[in-house]
């Protein structure tokens, strides 16, 4: 018989931050229709206001973990921290976008609505405890991103980016669904906790069902691996990042990853931890994730070396960074390390969020001032715009992982858990590729300070906008603060325990 949920069992309050954003996005879509074109700044305020509201609401419910929608949505500290990072990303990127859209002439209210949808999708992904909700959330995240990538239409690059992203994304989604179907076929449930409860037995039973379970896990991994741009599912990334409008690139290089890793961690840690060949061993998926992480770091960093365009370079760098986070995910497969690894990944993502948004803010400023984002356009920036250049230096250092920046803290935590998990080879790859990455990050610094511009770009520069300035400043603050006072965030992340939410 039907179990009628009451308002209490639905417990929508726990999901308030995400729901408020999704609902407001719908409403804003309508409101925006009646906002005249020359006053689109109103839409920005409305969107940003909603994000701030969600941010505060999230802080308020941070300690009250609970299930919503009959266990499909889990509001716990993990999703709490993820939500903070995701909302932060959205806020920064909205601020970053406004001037850009105006300048490029694509100022349309839908942009902000789509950003809100993506944000809601990412938040749902991080909190979804059910394969079906994960899929729906993934689509809520992806489809607006396809549109955003092509938002600069009829710019042919932007259209191409959107089309490519859409085609490949649909391809990858199909894998995710297929994987989900297989897991469902094997376990008879889509709820991650229930999957966790039966997964161990299925593997131990040595029947063909275990084959389906593992196939399902593999395909889920593929679907989400695509979202986080893990090698070898990364090929779309450079093209899409380069073609999409720059603020969109900044936004999606962070938001899509956050959503993807949120779901990945939940599926693997909550649902599949028990998938081991013998009890006490690391989970079966650890090897795959470790190999993916290794590949991602190697390919991402090495290809980034040869990029002359900073946007493209950052795209590859974002692939490489996904590799470092994947390293933590792999470590989470070892018994007893799940929480430590998850916390490491969270800190890394936060640091990456600040750094990346900041770097993109600088790129947008340079693009605007010098008409492009090639390495050449950064030449002499140290003289022309010292503040901007110094900010860029900090971001580059953070990406490299130099102490006193957020990037260092993130990397340190991630490497530590990887070593604890016994994946020494992976940690070595990580360190080596970090060294490699230093080359191309430092190259930017070198170009800014140690080379003189042949021609003065001064007069062509119509001072950069306040929005970008603010974003860069906030990002700088975040990056440095995280590097100097990591306890500010670890206070929050230390409460995260993903495994504990298993209640078989």
């Amino acid at each position: 018989m039907l179990q009628l949920p009451s308002l209490e069992t639905l417990n929508m309050g726990a999901a308030l931050p995400a729901i408020s954003i999704a609902a407001w996005a719908c409403i804003l879509l309508l409101i925006d229709l009646w906002i005249p074109k020359d006053r689109k700044i109103l839409t920005v305020y409305l969107a940003a206001g909603n994000l701030v509201f969600a941010f505060i609401a999230n802080l308020l419910v941070f300690n009250q973990s609970g299930d919503s929608f009959m266990g499909m949505y889990v509001a716990d500290q993990f999703s709490g921290v993820m939500n903070l990072i995701i909302i932060g990303t959205a806020l920064l990127s909205i601020v970053l976008s406004f001037d850009y859209l105006k300048r490029v002439g694509i100022e349309r209210g839908e942009y902000y609505v789509l950003v809100l949808f993506v944000t809601a999708g990412a938040m749902f992904m991080a909190a979804a405890n059910d394969l079906i909700l994960i899929f729906v959330a993934l689509e809520l995240l992806s489809i607006p991103l396809y549109v955003l990538s092509a938002f600069r239409a009829p710019d042919i690059r932007s259209e191409e980016a959107g089309m490519k992203y859409f085609l490949l994304g649909a391809f990858a989604s199909a894998f995710l669904v297929f994987g989900g179907a297989m897991v469902y076929g094997a376990t008879g449930t889509t709820n991650l906790n229930e999957i966790a409860a039966s997964a161990g037995m299925i593997i131990a039973s040595n029947s063909s069902t275990s084959l389906f379970l593992l196939l399902g896990a593999a395909l889920l991994l593929v679907g989400l691996g695509f979202k986080v741009a893990a090698v070898p599912f990364h090929e779309w990334t450079p093209d899409v990042y380069e073609g999409a409008p720059t603020p969109v690139t900044a936004f999606m290089s962070v938001a899509a990853k956050l959503g993807g890793f949120g779901s990945l961690l939940r599926i693997l840690v909550v649902g599949m931890s028990a998938v081991t060949m013998t009890a006490g061993e690391p989970a079966v998926w650890q090897n795959v994730v470790a190999i993916l992480a290794g590949l991602t770091m190697i390919v991402g960093n090495i290809v980034a070396l040869s990029q002359a365009n900073i946007k493209r370079m950052l795209a590859y760098s974002s692939i490489a960074n996904a590799g470092y986070i994947l390293m933590a995910v792999a470590a989470a497969g070892s018994p007893g390390l799940a929480n430590e690894a998850t916390r490491g990944a969270l800190v890394y993502m936060l640091a990456y969020m600040f750094t990346n948004m900041g770097a993109f803010a600088v790129v947008i400023a340079v693009e605007r001032a010098n008409g492009g984002a090639d390495l050449e356009h950064f030449v002499g920036l140290g003289k022309a715009r010292p503040m901007l250049a110094i900010m860029m230096v900090v971001f580059m250092m953070s990406l490299t992982g130099i102490p006193l920046t957020g990037g260092f803290i993130g990397k340190a935590l991630v490497f530590a858990t990887t070593l604890n998990a016994g994946l020494v080879w992976l940690a070595i790859i990580g360190v080596l590729t970090s060294v490699v990455s230093a080359y191309y990050y430092v190259r930017v610094i070198v170009n800014m300070f140690l080379r003189d511009a042949e021609a003065s770009t001064e007069e062509a520069t119509p001072g950069y906008s306040t929005g970008v300035q603010w974003v860069a400043a906030v990002a700088l603050g975040g990056t440095v603060l995280l590097g100097v006072l990591p306890t500010l965030i670890t206070v929050l992340t230390d409460r995260v325990s993903l495994v504990a939410s298993i209640t078989p």
Binding site: P154, G188, L211, L214, L215, L219, V284
Partner: protein
């Protein structure tokens, strides 16, 4: 022991690999290799079929169910408790079918190498042929209806592809080929609906689609007999041991394993669940009803008198069984070209002749007969269905035989003949003569393949002769004024029209002799194969009618006798028109004998058309049973077809039928041999006032196709017209769209959007124009990665991830 029949999984795999190679690399391999690959694949499959046959001989015909390695589960939904395994069944029935399919298939492969020489899509033809073999073998080796249906659909697809193989021929011929392929596809879809319904009903009723579960004993009667025999032998030896005591357990007759090979094989078949060492069950009483296959459960249900609940209606199981089987019969009428769905088969001759021989004469079209014999238990207990089947079969045999008498196209005659002979088989099933149906299926496969290949040889020769005659310009110089004329002439000439032939006996002696063999076999002349099988069907229907007082028996007997006379008549007419007399065209004059690749299969098939009938000689006939054994084939078949039985030889019927056939042949000889009317491209029967109406009726194919197009196709078009004109256009469009929607919507939208939107749109349009101008200059620079490459690399990644994640599982084994 159990590993030997495992070979059966290869019998599907090898042709599939052959098809795979030819599809992907065929174009690069060249004709020689393509032909070799395909033929070798087919020949290997034949070798396996022979090995399996030998295995069955050695193991006492006990059926084996094989789970192919690696592929151990097919459809398994643990959550829904649906388990449909991919199991293959090696028993006497499937082994018979495998031998025919691969044996004749191999010969036809060899033949095709020569026949298809020079065709632009040579490799694709062979790929289709191999693919057909693979699917056909899936069909016959399946152990459940769903897997059978996979093969059923697969061969349908191959048939479609091969009928329309020459879809690009010039002068509208290609279009006709395409339409023929479509027709086959559409009519078969109707039939497939029946099969799907039938299988769904089965699954709903029994919870399984397996024929038999691995542990089941198919023919309880035989098993008991064997057990008794063994027991008797056992007690004679005086070896009363512990096993003997175990035998006293109520309900089971148990015997020691040392009894004989039979016992060992039976135990083998039991599998893990029921095998107490040394204990052999001779019936299925120890198995729970829901652990039985479809047929076992059906018998149980009948014994119980179970009532089936279908929503608010309650049906006794026997009624339900009738519905189930009637749906299956609908499928059979599609695939095996019976009334009312038979019209596709004559058109299917548009395909290459060897493909017609294999698919549309010897194997695929007999799938319907095969599946009915396979489900003989169901049909045995569904008398209404059986009656319907008998009527369909007999009527089809008669109607198709009648139509065949009025055709000029050499292949079309054979096509209708095939329909008619399939009618014989179906009628045999209808009267319960399952063994006779399969026997006729086997002999027919040989001689009809032979006839088709022979006709292919003739057509080939006619084409060559035509080409030869015209390239050398013999006596036709005055007619040729240029290439255009030549082309026009090319178009008119029909190498398949028997009016263009004649006198080929001397031109192609080998083809003639083998064709004659095929004709005599088809006409049922002693001692050719057709005599034995047709006689068995007639004898069985006699027994069913006059001894068992079955109405269907009387009707079938009389109709089939007439159909047999028709058969002899139209076949001899064909022989006379094609081979006797004088050549009626230049082409026939210059027709050469075909190459050895073509004639060798003909000779082999001719040999079998002569000899294959002796494998099932009835007892007490001319002492032949002393040489060949009596009812060997039927006895063997009984191990998998539990309701099969051997019939008594009836000398009177044999003599009568043969006399009738000979008389019909003499009649045909008299009419066509001396007739000069054929020179005028008319049929002698057409000229006689008494026979003219009948002849034109046959020539017009009894207006069957015309009837379909008038009753179904045209009204359908008219209804579509009505819907589109009155309902859609006049009502929906003129009124509803224009007035209600368009005007109302317009008013609403105007009111809402006017104040805001007007300025925006104008601005956007102008902006777009400017941006485009700028873009076109940028456009050329973009030439980076292709999505398809990305998708491919993604796919490679998927495979990698799957491999790595499954590695521990594989290591565990």
């Amino acid at each position: 022991m159990a590993y030997y029949p495992q070979l059966v999984s290869l019998i599907i795999l090898i042709p599939a690999i052959g098809a795979f190679i030819n599809i992907f690399w065929g174009a690069r391999l060249g004709e020689k290799w393509v032909g070799t690959v395909a033929t070798v694949a087919s020949a290997l499959a034949f070798v396996i079929a022979v090995l399996l046959f030998v295995y069955l001989e050695g193991s006492g015909y006990e059926a084996v169910v094989i789970n192919p390695p690696i592929f151990d589960g097919w459809i398994q939904i643990p959550a829904g408790e649906v388990v449909i395994p991919w199991q293959q069944r090696v028993d006497t029935l499937s082994s018979t079918m495998m031998l025919i399919i691969t044996g004749i298939g191999t010969l036809i492969h060899v033949y095709s190498i020569s026949y298809m020489h020079g065709d632009a899509r040579f490799h694709r033809y062979f790929a289709y042929l191999n693919m057909f073999l693979a699917f056909m073998l899936v069909l016959v080796t399946a152990n459940n209806f769903l897997m059978m249906f996979v093969g059923w659909e697969g061969v349908g697809l191959c048939s479609f592809l091969l009928i329309g193989f020459w879809f690009d021929k010039a002068h509208g011929v290609g279009w006709r080929n395409t339409m023929a392929a479509n027709k086959a596809m559409l009519l078969n879809r109707i039939g497939d609906f029946g099969v799907v319904m039938s299988v769904l009903i089965m699954f709903w009723t029994f919870g399984t689609t397996d024929y038999f579960r691995p542990a089941e004993i198919v023919n309880v009667h035989l098993a008991e007999e064997a057990a008794h025999a063994a027991e008797a032998a056992h007690s004679e030896e005086g070896a009363v041991a512990a096993e003997g005591e175990a035998a006293n357990k109520p309900g089971d007759v148990v015997l020691a394993q040392e009894g004989e090979g039979e016992g060992a094989a039976a135990e083998e078949a039991h599998g893990e669940e029921h095998s107490t060492p040394g204990v052999v069950y001779v019936n299925n009483d120890h198995i729970e009803t829901d652990q039985l296959g479809v047929f076992g459960q059906a018998e149980r249900f009948l014994d119980e008198g179970r009532v089936i609940d279908i929503g608010p209606v309650q049906l006794p199981f026997s009624t339900w069984l009738t519905i189930m089987t009637l749906f299956l019969v609908l499928g059979v009428t599609g695939k095996s070209a019976q009334i009312p769905l038979f019209t596709w088969l004559p058109d299917a001759m548009a395909g290459p002749t060897p493909a017609s021989a294999l698919i549309h004469a010897a194997t695929m079209v007999t799938a319907g007969v095969y599946i009915m014999v396979r489900s003989n238990v169901l049909f045995y207990y569904a008398p209404v269905t059986s009656f319907v089947v008998a009527m369909i079969g007999a009527l089809t045999a008669l109607v198709a035989g009648f139509i065949a008498m009025g055709q000029w196209d050499i292949k079309r005659v054979l096509a209708y003949s095939t329909v008619s002979q399939l009618g014989f088989m179906v009628a045999a099933v209808g009267i319960g003569a399952y063994a006779a149906a399969i026997f006729h299926l086997v002999t027919h496969a040989f001689f009809k393949a032979l006839l088709f290949l022979g006709s292919g040889s003739v057509i080939h020769a006619m084409e060559h002769g035509h080409h030869h005659a015209h390239s050398h310009g013999h006596g036709h110089d005055d007619e040729h004024h240029g290439d255009d004329h030549h082309d026009a002439h090319e178009e008119e000439f029909d190498p398949q029209d028997m009016r263009n032939m004649g006198g080929l006996r001397r031109k192609m002696p080998l083809t003639f002799i083998t064709y004659l063999f095929g004709t005599l076999a088809l006409a049922g002349i002693f001692p050719f194969a057709g005599f034995w099988s047709k006689d068995e069907i007639l004898a069985d229907s006699w027994v069913a009618g006059f001894d068992n007082n079955n109405l269907a028996g009387y009707i079938v007997f009389i109709i089939l006798l007439m159909a047999a006379a028709f058969t002899a008549f139209y076949m001899w007419r064909q022989i006379v028109l094609v081979f006797f007399g004088k050549p009626r065209t230049e082409a026939a004059e210059h027709a050469p004998e075909s190459s050895r690749l073509i004639t060798i299969p003909l000779v082999i098939l001719g040999f079998f058309s002569l000899g294959i009938g002796f494998m099932n000689t009835p007892s007490y006939v001319l002492g032949l049973d002393n040489i060949f054994g009596a009812h060997l084939f039927t006895d063997r078949l009984e191990y998998s077809v539990s309701k099969a039985h051997a019939s008594e030889f009836n000398l009177l019927i044999a003599l009568g039928a043969t006399a009738l056939a000979v008389a019909a042949m003499f009649l045909a000889n008299n009419i066509y041999r001396r007739s000069a009317i054929i020179e005028a491209r008319r049929d002698p029967l057409e000229m006689l006032p008494t026979t003219a109406p009948f002849w034109s009726l046959a020539n017009a194919r009894m207006y069957w196709d015309a009837f379909y197009s008038r009753v179904f196709a045209r009204p359908f078009t008219r209804i579509a017209y009505f819907l589109s004109d009155v309902v859609d256009w006049r009502f929906l469009h003129d009124y509803f769209h224009d007035v209600v929607i368009w005007k109302g919507f317009n008013a609403a939208a105007q009111g809402l959007s006017k104040p805001v939107d007007l300025g925006v749109i104008d601005g956007a349009v102008n902006g777009v124009g400017r941006v485009f101008g700028w873009l076109s200059s940028q456009l050329r620079q973009i030439q980076t990665g292709y999505v398809r490459t990305y998708a491919l690399s993604l796919l490679v990644g998927v495979v990698l991830v799957i491999l790595v994640i499954l590695l521990p599982l594989l290591q565990r084994g």
